[in-house]
């Protein structure tokens, strides 16, 4: 199919494969692109290159064990993925999470969000032809990763959550270290604007490209910054607050542009909101317990449970059917990237092939989260 003698199909369209090993797909995603000259006629995503059957695996893992696997879905929001699993178990058991654990969870989740957006900032520069921004963003990201390393024991796949709270208390110097990281981030934020945001070439590659209307965003089930850039209010932290987000002051960033530039601006502004959230919490982490009252062997009551959180890329939902045993009967993850990916064929149509890279970069896909 792909090796037709002349690479053209009957309609005179040129068919190329982007991926599965293309640098700008950030993982093993294959986009089959039908081209008329340089104009995209049709895009078809092919999935499954990194499918590990996490949902099926979960059926044989206990409610303490299934948390760690989710770190391998959206590995840049690993902490938030773990959080959704802990939350669903807590919801089913109706366990009260201690205030200290909640505060630490939120601080770490927001740090994860900043670090994820920083990686996105780094890679969008890389995708569109600038290598330097990568290093500036990675400098701050490294600081966050070291903080995670010191407190959680791992840089990316933390597995710091347990049902009912967190695994260990944070180190005594946690507050001071977080403040250092935030200070470094705030001091260096202007550099991102200088090196990339203000660049006219970069702006021209994003403005007016890949417009996703609000109606389309709803129809495709887009969430997260992708949908908020189209004017859709979909921040789960605001709509269905969890872990004490209802007590915090922050703005839901939306934009009405819907193009790649709007998505860029929304993410850049979201990092500042995350800083604002952490600053509210860091000086008043309550004292007390870090784990709620849970049994050693957790059994969920019979029934169906659903919980959602806002990861760095959108709404992550977990749906668990329990038959009363120690392992889930069925587990389903509603991953943000899968829904966001479905919008790409629609918004890329009619653009040039170079713009597909901008669209991919601003939608910020994480492929293991699509395949699971």
């Amino acid at each position: 199919m792909l090796f037709e003698p002349d690479h053209y199909n009957e309609e005179g369209e040129f068919v190329v494969n982007m991926g599965p090993q293309h640098p700008s797909t950030h993982g093993v995603l294959r986009l089959k692109v039908w081209l008329d000259g340089e104009t995209i006629k049709k895009v078809e995503p092919h999935l499954g290159y990194i499918h590990r059957s996490i949902e099926k695996m979960t059926e044989s893992l206990s409610y303490r064990q299934f948390i760690y696997v989710t770190s391998r879905m959206d590995y840049l929001s690993a902490h938030i993925n773990n959080q959704v699993c802990a939350l669903v178990v807590e919801k089913a058991l109706q366990v009260e999470v201690p205030a200290r654990a909640q505060a630490i969870r939120v601080i770490l989740a927001e740090l994860t969000r900043i670090s994820s957006h920083l990686l996105w900032f780094a890679s969008i520069g890389l995708d569109l032809g600038g290598v330097t921004p990568f290093f500036y963003a990675f400098r701050e990201r490294e600081a966050i990763n070291s903080l995670m390393d010191e407190n959680c024991g791992a840089r990316l796949t933390q597995n710091f959550m347990v049902p009912g709270g967190i695994m260990k208390d944070v180190l005594p110097n946690f507050q001071q270290r977080v403040k250092e990281v935030l200070k470094q981030f705030k001091d260096n934020y202007h550099e991102y604007d200088e090196i990339l945001t203000g660049n006219v070439i970069f702006q021209n590659r994003l403005k007016g490209v890949g417009i996703l209307t609000k109606e389309d965003a709803i129809a495709f089930g887009c969430t997260g910054p992708t949908a908020r850039a189209s004017g859709l209010n979909c921040d789960i932290r605001k709509l269905y607050p969890y872990d004490g987000y209802e007590k915090l002051q922050f703005d839901e960033i939306t934009s009405t542009g819907g193009d790649c530039w709007a998505r860029y601006e929304v993410r850049m502004a979201e990092m500042k909101q995350s800083v604002k959230i952490i600053e509210q919490l860091i000086d008043n982490i309550p004292e007390g317990e870090i784990v709620g009252n849970t049994k050693k062997v957790i059994k969920l009551p019979k029934g169906e449970f659903y919980q959602r959180v806002e990861t760095a890329r959108g709404e992550l939902g977990v749906y668990i059917v329990s038959d009363g045993g120690t392992t889930p009967y069925r587990c389903k993850y509603r991953s943000p990237n899968f829904a966001n990916l479905s919008a790409i064929p629609h918004i890329a149509r009619g653009h040039k092939i170079g713009d597909l890279i901008s669209i991919m970069a601003t939608i910020d896909l994480i492929i293991p989260d699509i395949d699971r």
Binding site: A154, V162, M167, E194, V200, I201
Partner: protein, 158 residues
Amino acid sequence: MFIKEYFGGIFKAIKSLLTGMKLTGYYFTHLNKIVTEEYPDNRATLKMPERFRGEVIMPHDENNEHTCTGCQACELACPNGTIKIITKQEVQADGKKKKRIDAFVYHLDMCTMCNLCIDACPSDAIIMGQNFEHSQYERKYMKKVLNKPGSRLKDGVE
């Protein structure tokens, strides 16, 4: 009008490029602000944080004694079957037979460093070690027995 816009655009682009270049130039001339670590060269001074999860290890004290009772809680807690505990019956000083570990087999190649086994251990017999340089030429070297030869259970640990 068109010409003015055209050249204005070019001028703006050059200006924005220079803004970025200025930043790059700043770091190019301020070498003390460099943050990269030269990893294999700084091995002697590189210190991993205390909580870093490198591998599962079993600390032994100076009498070659550990605190693992062979209760297999870690084996049950591990999500991917990394740990295998082989027990034996040992005759004690008072003539009674008791369960002791023969081998604590740890498959490093399967471990995901999730910390669940450490969390589950009731007698804190295993901890996370800081070593992260695990590469080996053959897979068989990844299978480790954590209790040292000739080691025994510390007295008073049940």
